[in-house]
Point group: D2
Chain length 118, copies 4
């Protein structure tokens, strides 16, 4: 999602402020939930139609910012735990391919709403 160059800048930003000490893995996980919840807040109470209108207005910028926050904390957490995002996403995709063969689940709402990520 983001380049190695930008990742380096994020790590540097944190180091310069001596903020690594606050970024315990548990607190980064807490922060990911908080940011994801702030993203969701932009959709609260809204119908599909109202979501479309919101996305054409100020909502788009606000959503972009929340997405950036999620990506930033995710980058820090992966960095700190030595997790290679390309690698884990790749493996998860392979797993999902086996779990949901396209010829069996294609377009099935039932299969999809019963979908569990684990």
């Amino acid at each position: 999602m983001i380049s190695d160059e930008l990742k380096k800048k994020l790590i540097e930003f944190r180091k310069k402020r001596d903020w690594e000490k606050f970024h315990k893995p548990k607190d980064l996980a807490v922060s990911l939930v908080i940011e994801a919840s702030e993203l969701l807040e932009n959709f609260q109470w809204k119908t599909d139609k109202e979501v479309s209108q919101m996305l054409k207005g100020d909502g788009y910028e606000e959503i972009s910012q929340e997405i950036a926050d999620i990506a930033i904390y995710l980058t820090y957490l992966c960095n700190d735990l030595g997790i290679d995002m390309e690698d884990v996403v790749s493996k998860k995709l392979e797993k999902n391919r086996k779990k949901y063969p396209s010829d069996k689940v294609r377009g099935s709402a039932k299969k999809y709403t019963q979908y569990k990520s684990k």
Copy 2:
């Protein structure tokens, strides 16, 4: 975080199953919270020491999987809304640089715990 090639594969995986129709932006935001919360569950009730032990055991693999899920939904949401993650993270970093000048906030717990992402 993930390459354009892998992003293409994720989009293709979804298309082949005809699952785009389930991925309304609001439901993707709901899913991001759910996955972030499943990530957090691995840290629930644990002290720093217990987190370290958990990360040396099975927890590491489980956490990797939850991080993959978050990255996957984030990729879909950005794709669907036309949001360039590199771009929004870059801008957010610039914003944070101005908001938190390193010479003023360096190592300050007070400043950091009062930190709000908005």
Copy 3:
């Protein structure tokens, strides 16, 4: 929501297992998010119609259980922090009455979707 008698039983249940020590306020707050998110999982990807069907089936029991979990953690947190739920809800209702006068906001979607709890 729940009687003083049941509240006592919950406190006793915890005491008998010597579990108070795990219930730090921060971890109870983490647990509330996790349980609320498990509640939300029952609604993930579902349209209004699918939610109705789910509520007529197994979903009803699952949702009842998640609601119980939320109520239990909320009871523990209020007990531990000395917060009187009747009192804080009462005050919040008064606050909301002033903030949203019924003659001004009645049935207004716009006002409602702009509603912020703070």
Copy 4:
């Protein structure tokens, strides 16, 4: 937790504003996560010691307000789905008593951190 009288006032408050139509079960579940996450925000980045200090200051009032919001949405959701909170919490407590016999789990961190609500 809250009296039948206060519950009636909450229902009346909503009715007077013609807001029932916004309170679809899925949106109430979304709102519960958002409020629980706002509660958690007060604990973000904080150590046990910093939490204690926060609770002696402005944090206490903020936390009380977030708890009120959670209790309010929980009350609406139970009302709308015909769920008796006293009843579901009672049954959950019975279930937990069988699942976690006090003589076996007493004070055990291992058992507790492996505790799953389901």
